[in-house]
Assembly symmetry: none
Homo-oligomer: 221 residues x 4
DNA sequence: AATGAATGAGGATTCATTCAT
DNA sequence: AATGAATGAATCCTCATTCAT
């Protein structure tokens, strides 16, 4: 939305680097796919955002589907490489690492995240398989942390895969409602969610007998 | 809930043909909207599912948008009235009530839930306002439970609205991956999530040692 | 081109029988495919000829390709059934029958003929197979006549299939240049070609030994 | 024969690169025009065949139409000059000469022939006139032979122009079905067709009165 | 001589919707 | 309540061509 305003005007190519156009297409498509959904966005709209005629888009992406695939693949690649390079204090608990990383990364990329979770259904089967593989790789990071912690007795988790999904759903839901500039800072959110996650997987120790009784009492229901 | 659907008939129960069609339209639209997204579904597809020509749909719903609005409004109405009528053992902890209710209701209505959370963006502003009001009413039930429990010192929650969203996101994410007939029963899921939710809002550490023991007692599951 | 002028005007369906529209589409497509070739004709042009918006064509033919297929299949069906029903004087020589029939039929249907021979390449493989089978059925009629006559010693033909093609090519080429209303009547054309065909397959008898010798003498060349 | 193709180069034989490209364009266009028709072939396809981007074609031919015009004009020029230079045994009958020449030339140039007869309709009027003039020149060769032979009493032809077209259509149809390597050699084909042509224009003399009578007897029909 | 990016027009087809029957 | 035919606008994408580099 920023550089778009600087698009060269007049007819014909102004030699303003075609390279840039592909990037502007990505940016415009991202915004629109996130806002309205892949199917509801037309190539015309994207072209208009970019400041180009619809046909020109096809110099950069062979089909609309390829734009989506490109966005999703590069999001997953970035997510995984960002995790590899994440810089946290040495002694930090892996679960804290993951929670803070995930929230931070996802709050900065609300649109990419949303698309990546919502538009899986808009992918043609071949592309779906590509993306799905990446998603599993990411989820397995958290599953590994949980299993590891459970093995060491630090967490109490019966089903690490279920817990992985529960936690990721919880964290990934944040950008749905969180708006920067509000009462809560990103750091506040991180802390709040970290607390909830930690407690959710914490060993019960000697602490909450009453609650459990409740649960067990629940009969047929 | 479209007015058309309510058109009363004076001819006795035999004359249910039109009613039936409207119902079949709702059912077909629900499936397709959930699977592909509102924008990606055509009236022709719905008509084909129903076994009718596209024009006939307009005898039952004035526009495609009205089908969506109908589905979402009736889902929310049903959700709220189901909560009002939910039948739980008398002494049950309200949070447990809510968690079990929500999971149960949503697992039975995966498509409605999904549409209701995803297709808000496809609603025209007027319809959006209608639905959004209902959603807030539902969320406020959980917020109320949390605030109440916090006031009584049973939970430790700094931000009840944040917690509300975190919990609802976590629970609502279940139908995204849960499949009946797998290793985990619905009841298992309820128990697992209930445990996580309870712990997530539990007062910390030294405060409720008893509770923890209870949780650990939860056996095989 | 005639009834088209009578197309009902004004917006919306004038209930002037949709049935008729399909026929008008066929007629317009025929003219245009013959004149410019399948690939060079747009659905918009056909629609304009018919007096309808492009989308309306799709109520009658699922694709442009189906219009072509329809034209070619019905031409071949008509050709074969016309042959079956052709009414010639009882004692007429079968070859004369065929030549007169072919010329007559094809002069009346210059466009269909042209399309049927030229647009085979525009058919998708499945449709091509359908049409090609019909074409072979028709050619086999002439081959049968030639083989029969040769067996009876009335014709001298070394390669009945080659002769079939030679004759059909010769006859089918007529509409390429012949224009009614010129110096030569259709009847003249029939007679001229019949004479040439007859002579082409006639036994050489004892009459033109020189000619044949010539041919045989031709050496390497 | 586009002017561009004739652009002389002063740099010696090494600098034949551009020339080569133009030739490759001609060759690719020829194949594709023959196979699919002018209208169905895109400049992009031609460029891909040549191994070049579409824009580069315009260094060699100003428009797509000019490629077609070039192919057709050069085919006709080659045909006429090949006739002038054809080397046949001295005493050979002119009709045999023509038939053998035409078959030979056309079997070697199936694509050019096909285009030249089929894509006349794709020519803009100005280009059409150019080509049509050449075609008439070629046809007049055969007409001359027939008229000459008729004058000398060697042939019996009522309408030399009709006969010209009949014969050319017959001969030109060969590449439509003939495939080298089959049962019949090119030489066999020449002989078969020559026989048919000769007989078709042969004087009836005293030899086949019956046949003629047959024709004449045919009444109204 | 070739590229890469663009244009503007147009390709076939689909869409939600209308309406006479 | 349903149909069949239509509309008008929009869909994705392809086209021939241009032109700065």
């Amino acid at each position: 939305m920023t550089d778009i305003a600087e698009k060269p005007h007049g007819r014909g190519p102004v030699r303003a680097k075609g390279q840039e156009t592909a990037g502007r297409v990505r940016k415009a498509a991202l915004k629109r796919f996130a806002a309205a959904g892949y199917a509801a966005v037309s190539m015309r709209e994207i072209a208009a955002d970019v400041g180009v005629r619809p046909g020109a888009l096809y110099n950069h992406f062979p089909t609309k589907q390829d734009i989506l695939k490109d966005l999703m693949l590069s999001h997953m690649a970035e997510l995984l490489s960002a995790w590899d390079e994440a810089d946290f204090p040495d002694g930090m608990d892996p679960l804290e690492r993951f929670v803070r990383f995930h929230i931070r990364h996802h709050l900065e990329r609300a649109d990419e995240v949303f698309i990546s979770y919502m538009e899986l259904r808009s992918l043609e089967p071949e592309n779906f398989a590509l993306i799905e593989a990446e998603r599993r790789r990411y989820e397995s990071i958290l599953t590994g942390i949980l299993e590891d912690g459970a093995a060491k007795g630090r967490y109490s988790i019966d089903e690490p895969k279920v817990a992985t999904r529960a936690i990721i759903a919880m964290l990934t839901g944040i950008p749905n409602w969180y708006r920067t500039g509000g009462r809560l800072s990103e750091r506040n959110i991180e802390d709040l969610y970290l607390t909830m996650v930690r407690k959710a997987v914490a060993p019960l120790a000697t602490r909450e007998p009453a609650a459990l009784n409740d649960t067990q009492k629940v009969p047929a229901l």
